[in-house]
Amino acid sequence: MSSARVLVGTRKGAFILRSDGRRRSWSVDGPFFGGWELYHLKGSPKDPERIYASQSSSWFGQQIQRSDDGGRSWNPVGNLFEYDGAAGTHQWYDGTPHPWEFARVWHLEPSLGDPDTVYAGVEDAAMFKSTDGGNKWQEMSGLRLHGSGSAWQPGAGGMCLHTILLDEANPKRIFIAISAAGAFRTEDGGDSWKPINRGLTSGEIPDQEAEVGHCVHRIARHPLRPEVLFMQKHWGVFRSDDAGDKWTKVSGDLPSDFGFPIAVHPHEPETIYVIPIKSDAEHYPPEGMLRVYRSRVGGNEWEPLTSGLPQSNCYVNVLRDAMDVDSLDPGGVYFGTTGGQVYGSFDEGDTWEALASHLPAVLSVEVQTLP
């Protein structure tokens, strides 16, 4: 029978939730790496027992942990993330040049076909690759050096590379997104990159047509529709039907233009989920009501999903890497909050239940559907 495993990264460790395919009862294991920040954990699609985890601390720096038994035991692997050649500069908050400095790994994306190959999105924004199970990391410096890098400027949360989308049918095509620079695409496996931000609009920035400088929060895509991208950004939800060459705003009747995560239904490529947040200045749900919004038509028309979610006095946030779907039938949707709840819906979002509560603030949620 199929089963589901939920990898939860929090401010104070990692937790692993497990259930059989009915998803009626859940066990909670953890904390793993208690007291450390776990920005992200993700399993290899090829070998789900292989899981990579980003463990970091303001005191003791970055570690990468690897499990080869589905998260039961872990071993530290390589943690040297050295920029390739002269690191150069990007813009600092005051507009002056600032040297690239490694801070942490925000996102780990295992290869679709090789458990030993994994990509890392880091702050200050760059992409690294390991082909030996995380022991050694090499920067894919074509991204940082493609031309606009010196103009990138960090958002309030840091200049992080937080989204990496791989393409099963076209392994040389990769999409990434950086806060607050924008989205980028490579067609040659990472040697060269192109900004893909046309059509995005961003608040009061003077040049809405700017090649970079758009604050992307998250991009999601259905594996069967690799050309269609959905984006939640600072200032709205957008979609692209041509692999990012042109974006169109599809916020429609959402209650706000702000939010962090976005996810696509596992079996319906035009059904998407977002969790609106009141504003960039108030990182909590509008009216204190935690609502997931679902569009079944690829945007513009949205319905609030509230059953089982707190509808009063709720002031948590849901961060960019903290929502995911399983591929069971009916499809499951999961998200975690900064209040330490992990919610799941097993009827495509119609009703929700808390799978875990009172965890540390949730940074990331990844779901593995196991055979």
Partner: protein
Amino acid sequence: MIRVVLPQHLRTLSSTNGELFVELLEEPTICRLIDHLEQQHPMLKGTIRDQISGSRRPFVRFFAAGLDLSHEPVDTVLPLSVQSGREPFIILGAMAGG
């Protein structure tokens, strides 16, 4: 033997309990002591000092023999009481409020 006390998170990371014992054949400096620790426990690389610059991480402190050695040059020779093992060399995380 030099006695070294690691903070809790680094004891967990390196799967060590209690104090570590280090024997240095060369003149015992702060740098040589940490070199030795990193050779014995490679997962500590990058946790006490930056792997590229070699600088002490900003929120890591070195205390020994009633002294704060955090800001001393890395080639500072360890106090005699630490060299003899009478007192430990303490590596710890800086205090943080909140």
